[in-house]
Symmetry: C2
Subunit: 194 residues, 2 copies
DNA sequence: TTTTTTATGGACCAATCGGTCCACTTTAAG
DNA sequence: CTTAAAGTGGACCGATTGGTCCATAAAAAA
């Protein structure tokens, strides 16, 4: 019963996702968002509340649309298969032609002003939560196929997380798809086949 | 033949190193630097030229004082020993009680405004240069002791670099010394002892 | 057609950014 | 003692930051 939106919210979220992904939260300015979406500040704030709320909407979409491979990976029946699918998924994510390089969350989480600290903390919490889920799955599946001898599920989870972050940094630095693939393959050399 | 400095340049560089290290280049403001050093903008600019020139002075010191373990590592006689010393060095760096967490260069290199782009590119160049030196040393020393079977010197160098970056991210996220040590050990499980 | 409700454009805000400028001080050389 | 050179403090600069406010526009409900 009022004036209708002149823009497509989905479209705007898609556009802002690309921006935040590429530059992280703090380095993406309202001006950037306005220029990329064609919207005015008023429309953005009316529709999304604030820069931060818009960001969280975007993170939600990011996880749903681009980090979905994590669920499939965790469902695999052996440690090696889990690790493989995780590293493959990350590699594919970073080499997607249409995707900005790097990881939205990592690009946001590393540095920034004091104002951005709560956001970084929150992202960090999510990452640690995933690490715990990964460790749990390693624990559950190491009966089906062992981890590399001498490696605990905790070691393995931390190692894989470190590799994922490392690959994200490399991607941001311009590493090629082949490089990422070879790193992933090399990292798993000692992981027993199921 | 003029008025003498009222501050110790070494001391100022030490202080600004800590700031840039913790927050990266762009997230460290002139106000931060002034507050931490007790100097005015005039003194800083007179002594160092600009924020960027000061930053490069600081990077120089960082590499000299904190990244020196890389030289020792590259001088080791086998691939595994090289990799070990690199990962140990990074682990020690990130767990130093007096050090800010994370890596000065990584904290600067990931995101920022368009103005900071040249700085990020330059840091990136240095990183790639080190990767090439590492690959070269793997190539030279793999006669003395082999790399893990199926891993080329290029794979190995990219893998170790990825791990180093990953460990830096983890450190920034608050990972403990023990965690870092276990990741390093786990990563090298399949590397033949010399 | 009038009223109500929402959307939009743009002016405006204080705070902060890196950087410049200049008056003033302090020292050593002459 | 004068002069020249360098250091210092602080006012000032334009640009940019995220965010607010209000007048106007548009459409559905009455």
């Amino acid at each position: 019963m009022a004036r209708p939106r002149e823009f497509d919210e989905e479209e705007v979220l898609k556009t802002t996702l690309r921006l935040f992904w590429e530059k992280g939260y703090e380095s993406t300015s309202l001006s950037d968002l306005m220029a990329a979406t064609g919207l005015t500040k008023s429309s953005l704030y009316k529709a999304f509340g604030s820069k931060e709320e818009l960001f969280w909407r975007v993170v939600e979409r990011y996880q749903r649309d681009f980090l979905d491979f994590r669920h499939a990976a965790l469902a695999e029946p052996t440690p090696r298969r889990i690790a493989e699918r995780l590293l493959d998924g990350i590699t594919a994510l970073h080499s997607g032609e249409m995707n900005p390089v790097g990881c939205l969350e990592l690009n946001t989480a590393l540095t920034g002003s004091k104002e951005g600290e709560p956001i970084r903390q929150e992202l960090l919490r999510g990452r640690e939560q995933f690490r715990l889920r990964l460790r749990e799955r390693f624990e559950e599946t190491m009966a089906a196929a062992p981890l590399p001898p001498g490696m605990t599920s905790d070691d393995a989870a931390s190692l894989i997380i470190s590799l994922i972050q490392g690959l994200a940094v490399q991607a941001k630095a311009g590493a090629s798809l082949e490089t990422a693939r070879r790193v992933a393959r090399a990292a798993l050399l000692s992981w027993p086949e199921s």
